[in-house]
């Protein structure tokens, strides 16, 4: 039963990883930019929420919509003011600039909030769980995060397929020049894409802040988990990121169950490496171009 419990926790954890991975995948899909600051940008919303909660004294759940709006604006401005200059200039410029942003952001958070762990206190919900039997319980928060991932991916699919902006996303993704010739303002579209990406990670980032603690150094690990989920699931597939996240999450929790919690992340990496070696295109890949 412990193993089933571990597997269930892993599946739910996968929802969180999917929330982080969808944003990374969306930015890569629309502008071929691998955002190395993505992990730190999942940590930032938790601190924004913390400041809001400290200022307004309300339940952290209420801070989520406000933080989403703030992060959308941050993403839009970051893209328009800086990242648009490197899109289309090859992989190297994008990697260096986003790595630079990652370093700046991480150290700015260290400067403002120190390296101490912080938490968002949401009251009793944090510990509520659905007891299935004596040894199997599903926490409400992980379950909500997992359901949020499904809602977000469904909404993103609908957005991509049925709205004008979604069509523009797909158009610039397929052929940037042709999209521009058809009257698509690519600079605006990219900025919206990064905005939407950060809006999505805000959900995961703040929910994680409520569930456990956070500190400025978490970013690099979250970037790696998001990346692993994208590659395992297959690039360009939104449901693939959920599958990738679940595989990674289950690998980590089962690894912890088998070898102890110190080995959990390593087991996740090893599973990722094995999948990369034998199925580098992932499980649900739509595109083969990298």
């Amino acid at each position: 039963m412990d193993w089933i419990n571990a597997a269930v926790q892993g599946i739910l954890l996968g929802g969180l990883y999917a929330l982080f991975a969808v944003g990374l995948s969306l930015v890569f899909g629309t502008m071929r930019l691998v955002n190395l600051a993505h992990g730190d940008l999942t940590v930032l919303p938790a601190y924004v929420a913390l400041m809001l909660v400290n200022a307004m004294r309300f339940n952290p759940f209420y801070s989520i919509p406000i933080t989403m709006v703030i992060l959308f604006i941050v993403g839009y401005l970051l893209q328009r003011g800086l990242l648009n200059f490197v899109v289309g200039r090859g992989d190297i410029a994008g990697v260096i600039v986003t790595f630079g942003i990652s370093i700046v952001l991480q150290n700015a958070l260290l400067l403002g909030f120190t390296a101490n762990s912080q938490g968002l206190d949401a009251g009793r919900v944090e510990n509520l769980s659905i007891k299935i039997n004596e040894r199997l319980a599903v926490g409400w928060l992980p379950l909500i995060i997992f359901l949020m991932a499904i809602v977000v991916i469904t909404a993103l699919q609908l957005y991509m397929n049925w709205t004008k902006m979604g069509r523009a996303f797909r158009a610039v993704s397929d052929d940037q020049e042709a999209a521009r010739l058809m009257g698509v303002n690519t600079k605006h579209v990219w900025a919206v894409a990064l905005g939407v990406s950060l809006l999505i990670v805000t959900i995961g980032g703040v929910m994680m802040g409520i569930r456990t603690t956070f500190d400025p150094l978490l970013g690099s690990q979250r970037l790696i988990f998001a990346f692993e989920a994208v590659i395992i699931g297959g690039m360009g597939s939104a449901w693939g990121t959920l599958l990738g996240g679940v595989i990674l999450g289950v690998a980590q929790t089962l690894g912890a169950q088998a070898f102890g919690s110190a080995w959990s992340i390593l087991v996740g990496h090893v599973v990722f490496v094995i999948i990369l070696a034998f199925r580098p295109q992932g499980f649900l890949a739509k595109t083969v171009t990298a």
Binding site: L36, G90, D91, I96, F99, I101, V104, F227, L276, A290
Partner: protein, 357 residues
């Protein structure tokens, strides 16, 4: 240095290909003189400055290896800290566990780095561009987690290199200095001669347009593998030297991604895709470190901002700017054509060279 090789005399226009000129010869001789002074430095420079220069040459060597991968093979790694850490721990293994002299163990560390780079390359080369960068980071994290989880390697708290501390300061400091200097010279020589070779020509073709290069018969995969393995061995070697120098090896520090932050900063500021760039970058980095390192986070924020600003608005870096103004290379790598046509005019055509952007 003055390699002039007439290629063709059959066509109506005669021309020759040249790489270095007379100024390069003088600069080369000057460089040799500086090298001799640097070799003798520990005898007159005093311990504090010798120690500082160990850091300097270690970083210079790392930056050269990183630059070899990025500037010439188009491989962007944010995971070289994995090889630095592996080098440090391999040194500990050979020096403390197997009882081999620390200064000789450095060589084994380099071999260890090369051996690990082979399977790592097979994995990360399945990815491209930015995703390859994160892939190298995952490999580095795997190495860190393995070392940090094994009890024999001291776990998270790390190990002290007993064999190196037994050497005493009077042997250890000059010894690690000479090794660091050698690492920097090896890195520069490796880059220079690799790029002057046939493989190097292929690498540069590949960096500029990999499809065109491949259709001309360049084996891209093998060329990338060479640079990745050389860089892996080089970074492990430097990791071993740093371990002797600091005496203490901890997973969090030895495998820290901050190493990559330094390397990116140094190469980008100095100029990616040149040998001179990392030298200038390391000098600037050291001035910055001596003046602002005490401000902690601000120091990293400045490093990050400078790297962003240079990449966006001046991607060729400082040395790129110098080349654009003067056209002079300290380490001439590009082949220039000099026409020997009848009208006595000597037109010089320079093959494109410069940073990848």
């Amino acid at each position: 240095m003055n390699t002039t090789a007439p290629i063709s005399e059959t066509t109506s226009k005669r021309f020759e290909i040249w790489v270095a000129n007379r100024t390069n010869l003088y600069v080369g001789l000057g460089g040799l003189a500086i090298l001799v002074v640097l070799i003798l430095f520990p005898f007159f420079g005093g311990t504090p400055w010798t120690r500082r220069l160990v850091d300097f040459f270690a970083l210079l060597a790392l930056a050269q290896f990183w630059n070899l991968m990025l500037g010439y093979a188009g491989l962007i790694s944010v995971g070289q800290q994995g090889f630095i850490g592996i080098g440090s721990y391999t040194l500990w293994l050979f020096a403390d566990m197997l009882g081999i002299h620390p200064f000789i163990s450095v060589i084994f560390a380099a071999i260890g780095g090369a051996i690990i780079a082979l399977p790592a390359a097979a994995l990360v080369f399945k990815l491209k561009g930015g995703y390859l960068a994160i892939g190298t980071w995952v490999i580095a994290e795997i190495m860190r987690l393995i070392v940090a989880n094994i009890k024999r390697t001291g776990g998270g708290s790390g190990v002290t290199i007993q064999a190196a501390s037994k050497l005493g300061t009077s042997v250890r400091v000059p010894g690690s200095y000479w090794w660091a200097l050698a690492a920097a010279v090896i890195a520069i020589a490796c880059t220079y001669f690799l790029l002057r070779s046939r493989t190097g020509l292929g690498l540069k073709a590949m960096r500029d347009n990999d499809l065109a290069a491949e259709s001309m018969g360049v084996n891209i995969w093998r060329s990338k593998l060479y640079t990745y393995v050389i860089a892996g061995a080089g970074c492990a070697m430097v990791g071993a030297i740093v371990a002797i120098h600091l005496l203490r090896v901890q997973p969090a520090a030895a495998f820290s991604v901050n190493w990559t932050a330094y390397l990116i900063f140094i190469s980008v500021i100095g100029g990616v895709g040149t040998i001179e760039g990392p030298i200038i970058g390391t000098l600037i980095y050291f001035v910055l470190r001596e003046t602002t390192a005490k401000y902690g986070e601000w120091y990293f924020i400045i490093l990050g901002l400078l790297a962003i600003v240079v990449t966006v608005w001046s991607p060729a870096g400082i040395y790129g700017y110098v080349i654009r103004k003067t056209g002079f290379y300290l380490f001439p790598l590009q082949r220039k054509v000099r026409w020997l046509a009848g009208n006595g005019k000597r037109a010089v055509v320079t093959a494109g060279e410069g940073g990848a952007s």
